[in-house]
């Protein structure tokens, strides 16, 4: 011990205690320090080792394509493929435009710039431009998508700090003709509705990220749509809507054998060049986004079920005397016959009681299973991002089967019903509908058989009979052998069915002996006219409108008119029997 420490004062003693407490007694501290520095060397070796390993890990994973959230949007904003109809007519295309931007820091005289700019582009807001140019930013948009003349005139101003970026502006040359189906894009050229959105979701964004989506490389997207048919359908629907003062009208033409949707219109619609209108709730796409009680159209499904089960045939009798009482509920017919009627008559006279009895004869479970098989109980997904879930009763009892038999108590998207009817008349194949071009072969690969060929033949017959002597007579366009089924469903207002507000539909097939197309026409709340003799049922409005549509589109669809054909009795039923 050193002399100071061994002194008699208390101070060092206390300190000695602290020292031995802190460092321990009689330790060789220099040696300890040396060992502990060795430990520090190890610790730093490990730390830098971990950092190096982490770097190697990054090197191994490399350039993951998914790791660039910031750049995706920029990429999509550049170019989109054209969308063409089945005949190559352009429905949507990119047009190169210039967008004006400013670099506020480089602008020498901001007031002069504001003055000259607003003179060249009178629709610019003076205050807004001034505010933007005064911002302490490197880049501000001044106006997106200006015309070539405007660009030229601004260029001639010779202002420093202004520039143009080439941008792609989406243009829909047909305006509102193909609105809901094709959807629209936002200002950055990203699809936000319809087929446009589907495009973005299906590889367009990936393609852009990979850098392959230059303008030239992009193949146009071919839709199943025929823009001529679309035009005719839309034109007739608007006429019908105006004539019958309906709230809305909708129509659809679908290829029975491929599931392709050749035309789809829901008016009121909007112009995709001005997509702001699309937010109006009255302009929704009623065919995919809305769900409706389809009314008597659903009787086709009910009867098909009975025929397909083998338990009934066209001549099986069902009791339609008086009304059908079920619990507190009574089912009436519009045209009571007061006798037992055959299954065929149930369809022709659109007997609710008959349809209910047909369904009851099959049982609740079979009814449910059949509708499930026809895809009526599940959400139908197509290329369009907009789709609606059908409203299916949570507890499905006999009463539900009774009402659903004639199309009440189950709400489906009309497109869904079209898919079901297609299956009933195309030989029995359920084919998921598509908006893209599809061959018959591809369609058959996707198809599932849901009813027998024989059942399908009988459904064709029943639908044809309807046009010969039933409710669809006004749509029997000569030469095209139209078949069809009408539907008039009273709307539910405040929980009650209202007689004066109806949703009418007409489903037609042409030609009925070997259907190629199905045409659906719907009118929302049509009003009675003197010429309809006060009636608002489907046969007086949706059916004649459908007839006009068929008369216009059948030649476009390449259906050969045939005259002097025998009635359905001989043409359809007889050939069907022969083929067996």
């Amino acid at each position: 011990m050193s002399t100071a420490a061994s002194g008699p004062s208390v101070q060092p003693l206390r300190r000695r205690l602290i020292r031995s407490l802190l460092y321990g007694r009689d330790t060789d501290r220099p040696a300890k320090a040396r060992a502990r520095i060795g430990l520090a060397v190890m610790a730093f070796g490990i730390i830098f080792g971990v950092i190096a390993v982490r770097l190697v890990m990054f090197g191994m994973t490399g350039d993951r394509p998914g790791a660039k959230p910031a750049t995706v949007q920029d990429a999509v904003a550049t170019a989109r493929p054209d969308i063409v109809d089945r005949n190559g007519e352009i429905l949507a295309t990119d047009v190169k435009t210039a967008s004006l931007f400013g670099e506020p820091r480089r602008i020498v005289d901001k007031d002069e710039a504001v003055e000259l700019l607003t003179a060249a582009l009178p629709d610019l807001d003076v205050n807004e431009v001034r505010e933007r140019l005064r911002a302490r930013k490197g880049f501000v948009w001044l106006k997106r998508e200006i015309t070539a003349q405007q660009q030229q005139s601004i260029h001639r101003l010779g202002l420093p700090g202004l520039g143009f970026l080439r941008e792609n502006k989406r243009v829909y040359p047909n305006g509102p003709e193909v609105s809901h189906l094709i959807g629209h894009v936002n200002i950055d050229n990203q699809g936000i509705a319809g087929i446009e959105k589907w495009l973005d979701g299906n590889g367009l964004a990936d393609l852009h990220r990979a850098g392959f989506a230059s303008d030239r490389l992009q193949k146009p997207v071919e839709l199943a749509l025929d823009v001529r048919v679309q035009h005719a359908l839309r034109d007739e629907l608007i006429k019908a809507q105006t004539k019958f003062k309906a709230k809305a009208a909708a129509g659809l033409v679908s290829d029975v054998r491929t599931g392709e949707i050749v035309a789809m219109v829901s008016v009121p619609d909007y112009d995709p060049n001005n997509p702001r209108e699309a937010n109006d709730p009255t302009r929704i796409n009623r065919l995919t986004t809305g769900v409706y009680e389809m009314g008597s159209t659903f009787k086709a499904l009910t009867l098909a079920m009975a025929l397909d089960s083998g338990k009934a045939n066209l001549n099986t009798l069902f009791d339609a005397r008086g009304s059908l009482r079920y619990g507190r509920h009574q089912i009436h017919d519009t045209h009571p016959l007061g006798r037992s009627i055959t299954l065929a008559e149930v369809f022709t006279f659109s007997s609710n009681i008959g349809a209910a009895r047909v369904a009851l004869s099959q049982g609740v479970e079979a009814h449910k299973a059949f509708l499930k098989k026809l895809g009526q109980l599940d959400r139908l997904r197509t290329e369009l991002p907009e789709s609606a879930e059908p409203i299916v009763p949570k507890r499905w009892g006999e009463l539900n089967t009774v009402t659903i038999a004639f199309g009440h108590g189950l709400s489906v998207a009309p497109l869904q019903a079209v898919m079901g009817i297609n299956a009933l008349v195309n030989g029995g194949y359920l084919i998921p509908p598509t908006f893209l071009k599809r061959t018959e072969k591809d369609a058959m690969a996707l198809a599932t058989r849901v009813v027998k060929t024989d059942t399908s033949d009988k459904m064709r017959y029943l639908m044809r009979i309807n046009a010969e002597k039933g409710t669809a007579r006004l749509a029997d366009v000569p030469g095209y052998y139209v078949g069809g089924k009408t539907g008039t469903s009273e709307k539910v207002v405040n929980g009650r069915y209202v007689k004066k507000q109806v949703l009418n539909s007409f489903t037609a097939i042409l030609p009925a002996d070997n259907p190629r197309y199905q045409v659906l026409v719907m009118l929302d709340e049509p009003q009675s006219l003197p010429e309809t003799h006060g009636f608002i049922t489907s046969g007086w409005n949706a059916v004649p409108a459908g007839g006009k549509v068929i008369a216009r589109i059948a030649p476009l669809l390449g259906i050969e008119p045939r005259f002097d054909l025998p009635p359905a009795e001989r043409l359809i039923l007889a050939t069907s029997r022969e083929s067996r």
């Binding site: 520095i37 070796g45 730390i47 770097l55 990054f58 090197g59 910031a70």
Partner: protein, 383 residues
Amino acid sequence: MIARDKRTPLNEWWWTIDRILLVALVGLMLAGFILSLAASPPVAARIGLDPFHFFHRHGLFLIPAFIVLVGTSFLSPRAIRRSALIVFAVSLVLIVATILFGAEVKGAKRWITIIGVSIQPSEFAKPAFVVLAAWLFAESARRPEMPATSMALSLLIVLVTLLVMEPDFGQTLLILAVWGALFYIAGIRFIWVLALTGMGAVGTYGAYTMVPHVAGRIKRFMDPASGDTFQVDTAIESFARGGWLGQGPGEGTVKRILPDSHTDFVFAVAAEEFGIVLCMVLVALFAYIVLRALMHAHRTEDLFARFASAGLAILFGTQAAINMAVNLHLIPAKGMTLPFISYGGSSMISLAYGMGMLLALTRLRPSIEVESSGDSYAAPSPA
């Protein structure tokens, strides 16, 4: 000029200095200069300066930094202690002045302007503090009668108090870590190490529960979905984009959106433009400098040189490791510059001062000189 037969101060310096360490340090400084060309123009452009503003200034700082580095490395251990004492005292005064008169930036007062030069006094306090603490710990081992340990503790308390008042938690953390390491090397009993670790854990937990911004950082580290991890995400992305060989000089894009690309996230910028291979070279340089300095500390007989060089190496290594680990998302975000690479005049000159002292302390000295300087460990003579 540098002949072995004459004992001029210059050739004595040349033959005794650790030349490889010097080359490594100068290499790091040049790497920082080149990376500044990549990382700083977008930042300058963003705040409306000439794109090469930071680059030019970085180059400008290199000259005094180099002079300080070499000049300090000429000093004898005694002169080092003296200079550290002066620098520390001046820094403390300046920190106090900063707290009183400094301009507040982002809620903290860290900068003070003296005759037109904006400096960050806490940067200069760091190496001086480490040297002083090392000296006190060496004294505590050498002359038990001196109250050296308590003096080291009071030194720490003074500096940490001032740093917390600024506030500058990054520097506080660094100072605490280095002081703790020195105390540990000075031979504190292991039980106290455990106790201090426990206290540290309690303190961290306290900060986690009491200070919302610390809690936020840790939560974001643990669960990136819980908040805004923009900086770290973009940093990570730049490593992924860079790959092994990088996108090429000037081809980086992430630097344009990283707010602190020229300071805290320069490592990520380097990765994107020059690739992971270059980052590995940087890591190797840092590791080499730190480990070599620690090996010197391990070897030397001079207790003060051992503690001081170990302390300076740990200060340098910890700062580098924390910065790189944050860039690589290995630890929660903590603003810390990468020594000699990140932009910053005060930081660079302070680092040059610290590394100059390290070079001076690791010079080869004849053992006679070690003993005669009075710094050697002398076995207590019997009373």
